[in-house]
Amino acid sequence: MRALVFGGTGAVGSAVVRALAARGVSGVFTFRRSWGEAGALATQTGFDGACVDLSDPQALRGFLDALPPVDVFIHAAGVAPTGALAETTDAAWDETQAVTVRAAFIAARSLVPGMAARGGGALVFVGALDRGQSLPLPVAFAAAQGALPAMAMSLAKAHGAEGVRANVAALGLLDAGLSAGLDERARRDYLTFSAYRRLGTPAEVAPAIVWLALDAKAMNGKVLAVNGGV
């Protein structure tokens, strides 16, 4: 089985690549800048690393066109813009949409036909927002995150009969990755209001993401909340 992981050198992405490798899965991960981490991860896991700017659609299409078939796609790359409405620039909005949403769309458009032709496959978008949640998030971040469950639902409806599954793993606050950029008050609120009253770790959430990709065969178009209870 072969997998493609976007954002492989991120905190969550690298834990996902390791967890996939532990299940005997090989494949490719993308990274943007972290050449050192990418080399180490490739050596540890047997995955190949590819430097791809996910916000550049042409570069992304070129990368995907040259990619050997994959059975599993995990989108673990993300952007976490901060700031209130008035401070959110067009550029921040665009970059967040490009990396979070458009890259997932371009990957799905490129990969789903091959998955369907080979009898099925799985897409997992790693996100931060369950459909029903009410959280004080920056507008650009919330809007991009909100697109992921809708996209998974649409892909499930259109391609579920071909054996293609698309789901979202909606993570709570972790002690690493995008969560690390969060302001102190939001972190305190989370510690107060979440059921576990603690931050999660990438190593804790990676098994759930891999489970969603490899094992949860009857789950499609759904959001799996892995958030310590919020």
């Binding site: 579920g160 059921a195 094992d215 892995v226 958030n227 209870g229």
Partner: protein
């Protein structure tokens, strides 16, 4: 991957384990290395057959502990959990699976039908959860998995008392997850779509056909595949998921 079964050493209690999903859960948990106990209310031959399947599935041919009674009977609940505490020293995993399903239009639904479904499907969950939580809180760990239904998620043809009881489990799951999260105890809700057991066997064929026409998977779920998913949810590999509702319906 290690070869140690994922539930090795875990002590699991499943309510309503003689038939259907409960039996499949017991078999999957036993196969995954857990010690299994289950309750059942009526058919001893079914319970005997289920116990034989679970023993066979266990890597060490461990026979399940079996208790007869209604989950809505507080005496049965406290005696069952006390017996497990004596036999095992505690319970690590509780699956609240026992449920009544009765396909009736509301005009024919008598007050006693309503009460019976609410007693088994909701009060039973409260009673068994309360009983095992004392030990789990002391141990500062444990998993409670409630079995819900997609009938609480979608507007579908489901009997209203059944849909109401399964919706109640959403609130119960979330509030309980919040209350016992500080002790490291996970409480989650597994909400299947129509399965090859339970409600899926009771609906009229044209209702099933309607369902399948909307379901991208194009088939009913199987009790066995649901049970394999449940194994992960109650295992130590699931460390940051609580208060979650896991809807497994083939993409409906």
């Amino acid at each position: 991957m290690t070869d140690t079964p994922i539930l090795q050493g875990k002590r699991a209690l499943i309510t309503g384990g003689s038939r259907g999903l409960g039996r499949a859960l017991g078999v999957a948990f036993a196969r995954a290395g857990a010690r299994v106990a289950f309750t059942y209310s009526r058919s001893t031959p079914d319970a005997d057959e289920a116990a034989a399947h679970m023993t066979q599935a266990s890597p060490v041919a461990d026979a399940p502990l079996v208790f007869q009674g209604s989950v809505a009977d507080a005496k049965h609940v406290s005696e069952t959990v006390a017996a497990l505490n004596r036999a095992w020293g505690g319970v690590d995993i509780l699956v609240n699976n026992a449920a009544l399903t009765q396909v009736l239009p509301i005009a024919l639904l008598e007050e006693e039908d309503w009460d019976r479904v609410m007693d088994v499907n909701v009060k039973g969950v409260y009673l068994f959860s309360r009983a095992v939580l004392r030990g789990m809180i002391r141990a500062k760990s444990g998993h409670i998995l409630n079995i819900g239904s997609f009938a609480s998620e979608r507007i579908i043809d489901a009997p209203v008392h059944y849909a109401a009881s399964k919706s109640a489990l959403r609130g119960l799951t979330e509030a309980l997850a919040r209350e016992v999260g500080r002790y490291g105890i996970a409480v989650n809700l597994l909400a299947p779509g129509l399965l090859d057991v339970g409600l899926g066997q009771m609906l009229l064929p044209h209702r099933i056909a309607e369902y399948l026409s909307q379901c991208p998977a194009g088939r009913l779920g199987s009790a066995d595949e649901l049970s394999e998913l449940a194994v992960f949810l109650v295992s130590d590999a699931n460390r940051f998921m609580t208060g979650a509702k896991i809807v497994v319906d083939g993409g409906l």
